[in-house]
């Protein structure tokens, strides 16, 4: 079983390189191909089927028409499915504008999971968590460190009706009271100082006017 397992494994470095080259072969520029390589590797690291999805997308990329999204606005829709790569790359290009808009919707994106890693990177760049919704599937993107989702299906999503992207305010997920309770517990690790210790324990502050 071990031998079989090892046989199947591809390293992330191999995935990055191969996806980058395949993307170039599909007609993307080298710079965009680098972005796709990184993005698919990221999906795989998050346990999301990136290689399978990009492979499926490339199989129909030349046969069907997709719309490139250039300038992204608050609400974006098209009768032709949007290219997820173009949407992702241009989301990063316009990241400051995207933050200002805050809530963005994009109708009709092909292979929408391919957009996710770009938005995940946007979460890191902006320093804000992002809620990424593909129809009823929610993905909470945490500064490009992790993805929390109610969706765990490994099937390939070929299209979406609507994608919503919301930058979330940096707020705590707990109440002030919950914090106080926890802090109170942490105080049990502190040592009560004697008057003498209060004077010398810090090791500084006694002769600061010299």
């Amino acid at each position: 079983m071990d031998i079989q397992f090892f046989k199947l494994m591809k390293s992330f470095s191999e995935i990055d390189t191969t996806v980058k080259r395949a993307s170039k072969a599909m007609g993307f520029s080298w710079g965009v191909s680098e972005e796709i390589g990184k993005s698919i590797t990221l999906l795989e690291m998050f346990g999301i089927p990136g290689v399978r999805t990009i492979n499926s997308y490339f199989k129909i990329y030349d046969k069907q028409k997709f719309k490139n999204i250039d300038l992204i606005s608050k609400s974006n829709s098209s009768s032709l499915p949007y290219c997820p790569v173009s949407a992702g790359v241009n989301f990063l290009n316009q990241i400051s504008h995207m933050e200002e808009i805050n809530n963005i919707s994009i109708n009709n994106v092909a292979f929408p999971i391919l957009l996710l890693p770009f938005i995940s990177r946007a979460s890191y760049i902006s320093g804000k968590k992002i809620l990424f919704k593909i129809d009823e599937k929610n993905f909470l993107l945490n500064f490009n460190q992790s993805v929390y989702s109610n969706y765990s299906d490994r099937n390939i999503l070929e299209k979406s009706n609507i994608i919503n992207i919301s930058f979330l305010d940096n707020v705590n997920l707990f109440t002030e009271n919950e914090w106080k309770e926890l802090y109170k517990l942490s105080e049990n690790t502190f040592v009560e100082e004697s008057e003498e210790l209060k004077k010398v324990g810090a090791g500084a502050g006694l002769t600061d006017n010299d």
Binding site: D2, I3, F6, K7, M9, K10, S11, F12, S13, E14, R21, S29, W30, G31, V32, E34, E35, K38, D70, L71, V89, N90, L92, N93, Q94, I95, S96, R121, Y124, I125
Partner: protein, 553 residues
């Protein structure tokens, strides 16, 4: 006194980079220092009378172990080739993370000898293969089996029993990705695992040759003399596959060069050079004059370089001994300035390496800064303005921007990936097919193209908006923002031009590995030697740090 770092525009020219030599910063020397307190052992030596079979060697410390797994194979002479297109080798190796089980060895035995067409796993850290230098190997077996030590002349003309033809790492063919191991302090420096593999392979070659001789003539055979063993290294044949690495890893390249330049600057700023420091420097210089005499090559290009180096070193030696007052302040700054004014690049850079020898306290802190977290610098700061981008290009690529890319000569070559071996290659754009599949390595040409393209853009526009309509230049915009913070990240030459000498790119990288005896076999590949003169594994707890100058002395 404050000395400025040398200008990237000067240092990053290929002719300069192609004149670099090994130094205390080189990875194989750092590796030996970092592993001197690790326990070395030969864990398995299941080799038959002809030298075929498997062996395992390891370094361990506390609960950590790295093991070299060796497979020695029988191949016909006509199957032996150093070219990457070869499919069989005298021996194949994998560096294993931990101690391999019997199951691991069986799995590896089915894959490691196949190299590129086999599959390895994240438990393997590096992969390599090597061929015998038949003339030397057979001579050593013959001599030892007859109770005699081999002829040193024959040995040291070559310098090794085996030469590797590729050493792979970082995720290739299923090997462990760098992210899995990057936080291990003992292998944090660049290429430490590859150095470990090559070093242990060297010991395997000695054990194998002794074993064959013993089996050939059990009564009369003797073992290879320790001193002779120490003066043998491991050869390496290196082709163009290595060249694009330094273009594809800009922040790493910066950190290597910046370490070297920072060390040089600090040494030049030393006011009072102690007697023992200048004596060590002089001693290494003296040994170098003898050592360099053993560097042989059939390449006129390299022969010329070696001869220039020898005559320049002699000239410098005379100056140092006859004209220079070694008691003066800022002695090494004076030496450097004199070298720049009187010597060629090959010798200037050799002296820079020599100057590092007495100064562990300056060199060692820089060794830990030679790696790079490259992923951190991937994102393009799209909020920045076109004015920012223009300033970066004008400041960091001023010589590149002067190149006329409308001429045929400036566009003569293109880099591509060979379908046959998936390795980088170079071809003439006007004579060969395939330039439409060119790799994004024509940095100088694309920088110039970017500069021309943004000349019509508004200064206040953002880079992001520029990229919306110019994604064909995305790869080069990324680089421009890297060089802003990493001034030594870019070769300041046109690597698709007709005047390109590709082995300059190889020499740069190999000098940081710690290789010497550069022997170009054409302008596109060369042979080198690693670890010649290095302590043997059982001598690692105590050895002379200047061992590299001791070989053949």
């Amino acid at each position: 006194m404050q000395v400025q770092l040398r200008e990237p525009k000067t240092i990053m020219k290929l002719s300069k980079l192609g004149s670099f030599h090994q130094s205390k910063l080189s990875f194989l020397r750092s590796f030996l220092n970092e592993f001197k307190d690790w326990k070395y052992s030969k864990d398995l030596f299941d080799i038959d009378e002809h030298g075929f079979g498997r062996a395992v060697y390891s370094f361990s410390k506390k609960n950590k172990t790295y093991s070299l797994v060796c497979f020695a194979n029988k191949i016909h002479d006509d199957e032996r080739s150093d070219r990457v297109i070869a499919t069989k080798w005298d021996a194949a190796f994998a560096l294993y993370d931990g101690r391999p089980t019997k199951l691991d060895l069986d799995r590896l035995s089915k894959n490691v000898p196949k190299q590129e067409v086999g599959r390895v796993s994240y438990k393997e850290l590096s992969l390599s293969r090597a061929n015998k230098s038949l003339r030397v190997f057979d001579h050593v077996v013959e001599s030892l089996s007859n109770g005699k030590q081999p002829d040193k002349k024959i040995l040291f003309d070559v310098g090794y029993l085996y030469r590797t033809t590729a050493v792979y790492g970082s995720g290739k063919f299923g090997l462990a990705d760098r992210f899995r191991i990057k936080n291990r302090s003992e292998i944090n420096g660049p290429f430490r695992l590859e150095m470990m593999l090559v070093y242990l392979v060297r010991q395997f070659t000695f054990d194998q040759v002794n074993h064959i001789a013993k089996n050939k003539n059990p009564k009369k055979a003797i073992e290879l003399d320790t001193e002779i063993s120490r003066n043998l290294g491991i050869g390496n044949s290196t082709g163009l596959g290595m060249a694009p690495f330094i273009v594809n890893h800009p922040t790493l390249l910066n950190n290597w060069i910046l370490a070297r330049e920072t060390v040089l600057k600090k040494i030049r700023e030393i006011k009072n050079v102690e007697n023992d420091e200048i004596e060590l420097f002089k001693n290494c210089l003296k040994k170098s004059l003898k050592n360099i005499s053993s560097w042989t090559t059939e390449s006129n290009f390299q022969l010329n370089k070696i001869n220039n180096l020898k005559s320049d070193l002699e000239k410098f030696s005379k100056h140092l001994n006859n004209n220079l007052d070694i008691k003066i302040e800022f002695l090494f700054n004076e030496i450097y300035k004199w070298a720049e004014a009187n010597l060629k690049d090959e010798c200037i850079e050799y002296i820079v390496s020599l100057m590092m020898e007495p100064y562990d306290e300056i060199v060692n802190p820089m060794i830990s800064k030679m790696s790079s977290e490259e992923e951190k610098y991937f994102d393009i700061p799209t909020k920045r303005t076109i004015q920012d981008l223009r300033n970066i290009l004008e400041k960091n690529y001023s010589d590149i921007l002067k190149i006329d890319f409308s001429t045929k000569q400036s566009n003569q070559n293109f880099w591509f990936i060979s379908k046959n071996k998936e390795e980088p290659r170079l071809a003439d754009r006007y004579l060969q097919k395939g330039s439409e599949l060119e790799q994004p390595l024509a940095i100088a040409r694309d920088i110039k193209k970017l500069y021309e393209k943004i000349s019509n853009e508004k200064n206040s526009s953002t880079v992001g908006m520029f990229l919306v309509h110019n994604n064909d230049l995305r790869h080069i915009v990324r680089r421009a923002f890297i060089i802003e913070n990493f001034p030594y990240s870019e070769i300041q030459d046109n690597i698709i031009g007709s005047k390109l000498i590709p082995i300059d790119m190889l020499r740069l990288k190999l000098s940081f590995f710690g290789a010497n005896k550069f022997d170009p076999r054409s302008d596109k590949w060369l042979r080198i030697c690693m670890f010649q003169g290095a302590p043997l594994p059982n001598e690692l707890d105590s050895f002379n740090d200047q061992w590299i100058y001791n070989s053949l002395n």
